[in-house]
Symmetry: C2
Subunit: 159 residues, 2 copies
């Protein structure tokens, strides 16, 4: 698969994401604005999990002309989260980090030294979660799992 091919694929994927967003906005009588598009685009182009603050800085760099206010970032992120387009990870007092939730579900492994996040999925765990919820007559809507520890990188550094 060539770079170009990859790019094509990404573009199409993004277009679909954008169309879906527009559709949801219209459905709820909301408007499609430049700010909302830039935020979605920035999330899409970012590999890592972003804090609202980080997202704001990134946009100020890539779109210096657009004076996007931090409040709009927060408003749009919670809008996107409500529409299940992005998901958030909570870090207690340290705030939240967001990522596009369009991709397949996964859980997180978080390094308590450098803060890096590794994603993973385990079908067996997913399955058992459903079994457990059923057992308690609980109607499961979402779930999250985090493993905290020290990543391979930081372990090396510590030696």
């Amino acid at each position: 698969m060539t770079q170009e091919h990859d790019f094509q694929k990404k573009t199409i994927e993004y277009e679909q994401l954008l169309e879906n967003f527009k559709r949801l906005l219209k459905k709820n009588g909301l408007k499609f604005t430049i700010q909302r598009e830039v935020i979605l685009e920035t999330l899409y182009n970012s590999e890592e999990h972003l804090t609202p603050e980080g997202l704001h800085k990134k946009i100020q760099t890539t779109h210096p002309d657009l004076k996007t206010g931090i409040a709009t970032i927060y408003r749009t992120l919670s809008l996107l989260e409500n529409e299940a387009i992005v998901t958030s990870l909570s870090f207690g007092t340290q705030g939240k980090k967001y990522e596009l939730g369009a991709k397949e579900h996964h859980d997180h492994m978080i390094c308590i030294e450098c803060g890096s996040i590794t994603e993973f999925v385990d079908a067996e765990i997913e399955k058992r979660q459903h079994l457990i919820a059923d057992k308690f007559g609980f109607k499961m809507q979402d779930h999250s799992m985090q493993i905290y520890g020290i990543c391979a990188e930081c372990q090396k550094k510590n030696n």
Copy 2:
């Protein structure tokens, strides 16, 4: 097993918890204070998960003579958490909830309607978490899992 017997058992369990706490304090050159004891005792006597604010109110009721400041609650809770005597559950902006962590490990099922928390354990999931961490060369120190949804009670109410 009689009520009295139960009480005896609880008392002994609490004494051990308290002794352990005192030992850890001394080991770290810290002092054992009335406030710290009251906080531990209140956590011990509470079935539910408590917020720092809730803990504060509870103590103001049970120990009105002791003018415990909210700062002391926070300081003691993080002390207890560092010593692994209590563990916390993060609720994003809504803060944290604490529980005595002395009991065996478990995960949480959280009702998004009434906020109630149900505990559960699943050996299989625990096992797989370790396997996953190993696979990534990650030195696991802790982990947490939450299932969000609607509890049986609230489902009934909704009908």
